[in-house]
């Protein structure tokens, strides 16, 4: 049957006809093969226009219809329906040609526009004959609605949906619903209190059984299509369970303060907080960020921020309790820890890192170990042997004991402590401190046997025979490493380890008069400084690299220097010089630095012929230690590294011998105390699991995918942070301390410790001191809560994500952030609000402290259009500022007295809404000065008085007015994350950055994504009445979908011709919706029509041409191209 085509071109009033000669086009179309009727008509989209099509179809037996008019995005649906009413399948019969948006409106010349229309019409007439019948699929609609954003728009939409009996999920990313409206004080023009009209809505969404309120939640992913969305939301960990009563006892004890976002930083809140008293839900929330760098950089994972905060508030016992969670030797580490935490401390970005180690020592010195609470545990009848009582051994013993195991320590020396006792000199670590802390560990029920050596008094086998089920080897590294030079073994050469042990334990005074120490580590410094104290007249340290590369702590090097010790850098020992059997000196060779070695330090290279002699009578090499493994190996053949340390599993610390674990220097080689403790903690976990037969847990953990590296989302560094000098503890004068083993570092005094602790910027938010946990009577606090993902099925979505207020800081001419009494509108709203920082009083800011408010202003300037109607920021008008500026003027007159001078600097007054103009008149009658002109500059004098400079464009004069306060009426901006939201929901953003509605007049709440609607200021600046109206409109759209219960999905989706498909399966990989499956039986790919969205990724690529998108087939597109390019 040959086609019978009807062609219609629309005048669109004159919109098309003023450029395109429509009669000429109709006449041209009538000559086209198959066209039986060609008409032009004034308004094709009008009822008579549509009827024209319907009657022509019947009268002329039309099979195809082409309409040339506006964009198909506008009226394609209209004409398709007309064709359907005429009895034709609309997809088969109808094609629309755009001659308005793409023709008359963009072409200036009439001939050109007519010619362009002719070509476009030709292409449409060519195409239409190849179109095929399509039938849209119908899907049922899930009647639930998701509302994103809990401001007034979201709350209203949710309430409307709920009141019709359908379910609404209301997702709000903040801990409370309410949004900007609830931050305001009064609402113009009626001046009703926003809390009075807003809180009932908040309560309603909190209580309505048809509203599921999901506060502190964010939408992560949206899948599916209209009627059948599947939305993944992330319930952010709130750390407070639902049984919170909102009593607020927790925040009274919280030591951590931050500016309250709800009050736009005009007052402080705690880390555990409720945004404002009427918050819904009335459930506190704990603000936790990424773990603080001090905590993550501590090998033992100590909660540094926690104890620093406890020192700040003077709760030294809780500080000690927090330290004891991870460090069994607080006083020891407070003295000798190399404090890697201080390197990462972010306070260093302001002035200098917090003196964390000194604060730890302060806490340890000022609290009582006996008062550290121990959880009651059941005694476990399993015996564990800990060999060695150094830091690793003590850690393992103490924490396993805290779990309830029976622990025995075996120590080869007469006194416990290992290297802490024998290696660290008393002037750094007084033995009394060590004794006190070891005694405490023992007091928890740990058994200690001293003077018993492995391999001499007992063996691993004998321990097992005695019923020990797990053994820990913490035997340290006590054997000196040799220098391998001539005469090394003569009398007068004594290794540092042995020298220090002798001096520490016996106080032998064994140093000779002229001592040379070889090495540059902490052991070398200790040996040199001990030598000074035990009889040496002059001590030199010989180190092979330069001072910069020296591994010893800076403070140790400084301490040594102060005590008169000489440093000879870039020199290495060559041989020990003897006179007979008397040591007389050491021959050294000078070095220069070559290229860097594996450790990243530059390698020392000896300079030929540069040998020199240092006269001395004692040489103390301090170049390293190794593990004494001989007694252990006698018994059991352990696997060792090339360095002679134990090979252990990195997670379980288990040696090659099952049930025997090792950590500390015996595994790492000589290292720090805190690293030994870190290893000890791993062993505690492992032995616990080993004895409970749970070692498989480690395997499972290893199989788990590695968690993506933690995002470093720390609390921002406060901009007003004052520079503070780092607290320094008092040191005993070098001349005094030189001859004494008494402690050199006297620690911090209370005042400087607390001041130092105040420097902490609380990187991770909550410091996890857990004081709140003890305080909460409801037991609602759970610090271990995790984010939870949840999938919600909904049929429709309302986006009501609101706006951001513009930050005026970059507009330097207004001095916001610099001048105390320049406020933003939102700050002013918070001042005026009864729950704000001043409890509703309008007060000036103190010039020194931005959070202190003084007295009411006598004169105020209100600046309109800050960032709105400004080509440098936003071209649009924010629509609300004129009105709230008037409201502010009224409130100032009302609250601060009628003699208060209020100046409004405006460009144009836009009082367009119901009752707005009347309000304007009323405010004017109250004596508010209106000045037409934009403020160009604000300056401040020493007294804090502001001078506002503007042009009065009505009198054509410059005005300079002194005021005590200025308020900037800032623009409403699109949310900073609007781009993310756009992508998640598949909607568009307009040139102003707000979400784009489908049609500015006729589809103001719809979006290009069917089933996704817009409400409120996310679509554009608007006031509360307009927002509520739009929310109700969006709710109506959702309810229409839910009530109808089914939805048609456009049939323009892919299909794969099984006769043509060769089964290459390329399309399967290309499909972004995994809508294509492979039919194993017929060996062809198949489209799942319910999932396909018709993007055409498959059709665009299919090498055999089997995959096509319906309504966009090759024949159809080729015909259109033919039509466009025909000569």
């Amino acid at each position: 049957m040959s086609e019978r085509i009807g062609f219609y071109i629309c005048h669109c009033g004159i919109n098309i006809a003023y450029r395109v000669r429509v009669e000429e086009i109709a006449a041209y179309a009538s000559t086209f093969p198959g066209v039986v009727i060609a008409r032009d008509y004034l308004f094709m989209c009008s009822d008579p226009g549509q009827e024209l099509i319907e009657t022509d179809i019947k009268k002329h037996d039309l099979t195809r219809v082409v309409v040339a008019s506006c964009s198909p995005r506008m009226h394609e649906k209209t004409f398709r329906s007309a064709c359907a009413r005429g009895g034709l399948n609309p997809y088969y019969a109808f094609h629309m040609v755009c001659v308005r948006e793409h023709g008359s409106w963009v072409t200036e010349d009439e001939d050109e526009a007519t010619q362009k229309a002719r070509v476009l019409v030709r292409a449409g007439l060519k195409r239409v004959s190849f179109q095929e019948s399509l039938i849209p699929s119908e899907f049922s609609v899930n009647s639930n609605t998701l509302v994103v954003g809990g401001g007034i728009a979201g709350m209203q939409a949710a309430i409307d949906i709920a009141s019709s009996g359908f379910k609404a999920y209301l997702v709000e990313k903040e801990p409370t619903v309410g949004g900007h409206m609830l931050q305001y004080d009064k609402a113009f023009p009626t001046l009703d209190c926003t809390a009075c009209i807003g809180t009932p809505k908040m309560v309603a969404v909190g209580q309505d059984k048809n509203v599921e309120l999901k506060s502190y939640c964010e939408v992560e992913d949206v899948a599916g299509f209209v009627g059948n969305f599947s939305v993944t939301v992330n319930n952010k960990a709130r750390y407070i369970k639902t049984n919170c009563t909102g009593c607020g006892d927790c925040s009274k004890v919280c030591p951590v303060d931050f500016p309250n976002e709800w009050d736009v930083n005009t007052q402080m809140r705690k880390a555990i907080y409720l945004s404002f008293p009427q918050a819904v839900p009335v459930r506190y929330v704990i603000d936790k960020k990424s773990p603080a760098p001090c905590r993550t950089s501590c090998p033992a994972g100590t909660n540094v921020q926690g104890y620093v905060q406890m020192v700040k508030i003077g709760n030294y016992q809780q500080a000690l309790n927090i330290i004891m969670e991870r460090l069994p030797l607080p006083g020891v580490l407070g003295r000798v820890c190399p404090h890697p935490c201080e390197i990462d401390c972010r306070r260093g970005l302001v002035d200098s890192p917090v003196s964390i180690r000194d604060l730890k020592r302060f806490a340890a010195d000022n609290a009582n170990l006996a008062d550290v609470p121990l959880a009651e545990v059941k005694e476990i009848d399993k015996k564990i042997a800990v060999i060695g009582s150094g830091p690793a051994g003590l850690t393992v013993a103490y924490y396993l004991r805290r779990k309830g195991f029976a622990v025995s320590i075996f120590e080869s020396m007469e006194q416990p402590g290992g290297m802490l006792r024998t290696g660290i000199p008393d002037y750094r670590l007084p033995p009394a401190i060590l004794d006190q802390e070891i005694d405490y560990i023992l007091s928890t029920g740990v058994e200690l046997k001293t003077g018993v050596a492995l391999g001499r008094d007992f063996t691993l086998a004998s321990l097992k025979d005695d019923g020990f089920e797990a053994i820990f080897l913490g035997i340290g590294a006590h054997v000196p490493v040799k220098m391998n030079i001539e005469n090394e073994d003569v009398d007068g050469v004594l290794d540092a380890v042995l020298f220090l042990r002798k001096e520490n334990l016996e106080r032998a005074g064994s140093a000779k008069k002229r001592v040379v120490v070889i090495g540059g580590g902490n052991v070398a410094m200790d040996a040199a400084r001990v030598a000074v104290r035990s009889g040496a007249n002059f001590v030199s340290v010989v180190y092979r690299r330069s001072l910069k590369e020296m591994p010893a702590d800076h403070e140790e090097i400084e301490g040594a220097r102060e005590e008169g010790i000489e440093f000879i850098n870039l020199a290495g020992p060559k041989k020990i010089v003897m006179d007979g059997d008397r040591l007389v000196g050491i021959e050294c060779i000078k070095n220069e630095l070559g290229p860097a070695d594996d450790s990243g330090r530059r390698r020392p290279v000896p300079v030929e012929g540069s040998e020199f002699l240092i006269e001395c009578d004692m040489i103390i090499p301090a170049i390293g230690q190794r593990v004494e493994t001989a007694p252990v190996l006698k018994d059991t053949p352990f696997d060792l590294t090339a360095w002679g340390t134990f090979i252990v599993d990195p997670d379980t610390m288990e040696t090659s011998e099952p049930g025997v674990f090792a950590a500390g220097d015996a595994v790492t080689g000589p290292a720090t105390v805190v690293e030994a403790i870190a290893g000890g903690h791993k062993v505690v976990t492992a032995i616990g699991r080993y004895l409970n037969r749970e070692m498989a847990l480690f395997e499972e953990e290893r199989k788990q995918p590695k968690i993506a590296p933690l995002k470093n989302e720390f609390m921002p560094i406060p901009e007003d942070a004052q520079l503070m000098a780092r607290a320094k503890s008092a040191f005993v004068d070098p001349s005094e301390r030189k001859f004494s083993f008494d402690e050199v570092d006297l620690g911090l005094c209370e005042e400087s410790a607390q001041r130092e602790a105040q420097k902490c910027i609380n990187c991770s938010g909550c410091c996890e001191c857990k004081l709140c946990v003890d305080q909460c009577k409801a037991g609602a606090i759970d610090h271990d809560m995790k984010d939870e993902r949840q999938v919600i099925d909904v049929g429709s979505i309302i986006i009501a994500t609101g706006f951001d207020p513009l930050d005026p800081t970059p507009m330097l001419q207004y001095g916001y952030g610099k001048y105390a009494n320049v406020f933003t509108n939102l700050e002013f709203e918070r001042l005026s609000n009864a729950t704000g920082p001043t409890l509703g009083k309008l007060l000036k800011r103190d010039l020194k402290d931005p959070m202190v408010f003084t007295d009411p202003p006598k004169s105020v300037a209100i600046l309109h259009c800050i960032g709105s109607r400004d080509i440098n920021f936003h071209e649009y008008c924010s629509r609300t500022c004129c009105m709230y500026a008037l409201k502010y003027a009224h409130l100032l007159k009302d609250k601060c007295g009628h003699d208060t001078l209020v100046y409004n600097f405006y460009i144009d007054m836009r009082c367009f809404g119901k009752g707005y103009e009347e309000f304007y008149k009323k405010v004017q009658s109250e004596g508010v000065r209106m000045i037409r002109g934009k403020v160009g500059l604000i300056t401040e004098d020493e007294s804090g008085m502001l001078t506002v400079l503007a042009e009065d464009t009505l009198s054509n004069k410059m005005v300079e007015i002194e005021v005590e306060m200025a308020i900037l009426c800032t623009a409403m901006e699109p949310r900073s994350n609007a781009g993310d939201v756009m992508r998640k929901f598949g909607i568009g953003i307009g040139s102003d950055g707000f979400f784009q509605e489908e049609h500015p007049k006729l589809a103001p709440v719809s979006t290009p994504s069917s089933g996704v609607f817009l409400a409120g200021a996310c679509q554009g600046p608007k006031d509360i009445p307009d927002t509520v109206a739009q929310a109700k409109g969006a709710a109506a759209e959702c309810l229409a979908l839910s009530a109808k219960g089914e939805v048609e999905v456009p049939p323009m989706i892919s299909f794969i011709d099984p006769d043509v498909c060769v089964g290459c399966q390329v399309c399967i990989g290309l499909c972004p919706y995994t809508a294509i499956e492979f039919d194993q039986f017929n060996l062809v790919s198949e489209v799942n029509y319910a999932v396909c969205k018709g993007c055409g990724s498959c059709a665009g690529h299919c090498p055999s041409g089997a995959a096509k998108v319906r309504h966009f087939t090759d024949r159809q597109v080729f015909a259109e191209i033919d039509g466009l390019l025909l000569n």
């Binding site: 963009v106 292409a123 990724s1097």
Partner: protein, 149 residues
């Protein structure tokens, strides 16, 4: 002889560039009528055959308009278009079609002005380049002008 008027076929994504063309219309931004638009649902739907067909039928230039990377209505169709265009450009070169005749541009729905600018720019460029070697009608005219045929 009147100035050469290039013929440009635009394959525009329905969600961005096509809408931008609508916006250009509603904003009354005028641009040369040389460009004629074919509506596609996604730039990733543009089969290389369509481009070849357009050139074979005498188009002097082809413009594919898609969403900005990351903004594709269908997740990543625009990125597939980008790969396809890279390959197709090489193939077209083999047939003597200069790469400056085949454009891929990201034009978001809100960028009506950008659409106008691209249309202007491309028309100007093609006027400089002259007719495509496959534009037989132009060739014929040229030959006629030279006294041949």
């Amino acid at each position: 002889m009147s100035e050469f008027e290039p013929k440009i076929v635009g394959f525009f994504c329905n969600w961005c560039t096509f809408t931008a063309a609508d916006l250009a219309g509603t904003s009354r931004l005028s641009y040369p009528s040389n460009i004629k638009i074919i509506r596609m649902m996604c730039s990733g739907m543009v089969d290389p055959k369509y481009v070849l067909k357009a050139f074979l039928n005498g188009a002097d230039g082809v413009l594919i308009g898609g969403c900005w990377p990351g903004d594709c209505h269908y997740i990543n169709g625009n990125l597939k278009a980008r790969r396809r265009v890279a390959m197709l450009t090489e193939i077209l070169k083999e047939y003597g079609i200069d790469e400056q005749r085949f454009w891929l541009r990201w034009i978001a729905a809100s960028e009506g002005t950008m659409l106008r600018d691209v249309a202007n720019e491309m028309t100007d460029k093609l006027k400089q380049l002259g007719p495509s070697p496959f534009n037989l009608s132009s060739n014929r005219k040229d030959l006629t002008a030279m006294g041949g045929l």
